[in-house]
Symmetry: C2
Subunit: 194 residues, 2 copies
Amino acid sequence: MPSPAAPASAATPAAPTRSARDRILDAFEDLLAEQSERAATLEAVAARAGVSKGGLLYHFASKDALVDGVLERFAADLAQDIEHMRAAPDGPVSYFLRTSIPSDNRLERVIVAIARLAQASDARASDALADAQRLWLSELEAVVGDRMVARTIMLIGDGMYYNSALLPAANAVLRDETDVQQLIALVERLSARD
Amino acid sequence: MPSPAAPASAATPAAPTRSARDRILDAFEDLLAEQSERAATLEAVAARAGVSKGGLLYHFASKDALVDGVLERFAADLAQDIEHMRAAPDGPVSYFLRTSIPSDNRLERVIVAIARLAQASDARASDALADAQRLWLSELEAVVGDRMVARTIMLIGDGMYYNSALLPAANAVLRDETDVQQLIALVERLSARD
DNA sequence: GTCTATACGATGATAGAC
DNA sequence: GTCTATCATCGTATAGAC
């Protein structure tokens, strides 16, 4: 039941009126993250977004344009994540590790999607991931002091992504909240010494 | 200079006479690891192996058969790696971390190749990687005692693979032998306590 | 602004010559 | 054992109707 007083084109981001453009990008990301780069064909994306192939190509003239759209949204999400990381009550390290765990988090899904594009030899996607790594690493280095400890934490986070992106979910190295807490405690012991 | 006394069909694994079958599997792995799953078409594989598409299809009736061939060789390589890990002079942990660094190592290359297949939704490839993880993890657990420390070491190794498989080489988190030594020292400090 | 129809290229696979 | 057609299928992209 749409609000009668709302102007026709008012943005209601998470509601039924989510713009076709956003629905298409969502569909593309979903197919990449949940299935594979090969599965994310124009036809499949269109079907999932509830538009026709022609309709999709009206919004994004080519598959490359679709990739650009995903990367643009990612840049914005990433900037926001860095903010959250800085403001996190338990500190950036804990925040970083927690958000590296596969979840329903939007950022997680986009990163897996972009990782799939990177594997399909898309240089823009690889660059975007490399940029993100640099940002996170510099945040980590700022708080842990030791350069090598910061890098080790990055590698652990990377490992979590790798696992969730590549392996059957049943094989997650970390299974529940207890595992996560233990890992964080372990890593903080690392950064506390030296 | 082939040994004159050798029977015509004697195996000379690394020499010019490397069987067509092996050359084809090598070419497939190379294309997967150095480029992408999409780049590893039957034609490209045949060209790199120095045979025609028809010639390739004589040895491997389908692309699926090609994947099976790679997975079979991987299983053998993996078993050998576990042996080496157990016998390593510096211990399994150091061995594991060192061999997780991107190099010209055969096993490395195969794993990246299989990771690419896994990303392309090949369930057999995902399973093979999950099996390998289980094996490594159980070796690590056997020596470090603490379950969580062993898992953390696995994650670090996974992170290294992820980086080498996905990002431009220039972005490696670990750059030289000094980095590696520092990381190993750091991790051994982890396993020494508790 | 969205859809249908169609062109075009590339890929996996088959049949059969040598 | 290896190669040369050749085919069917699918994915990207264009043109144009509604």
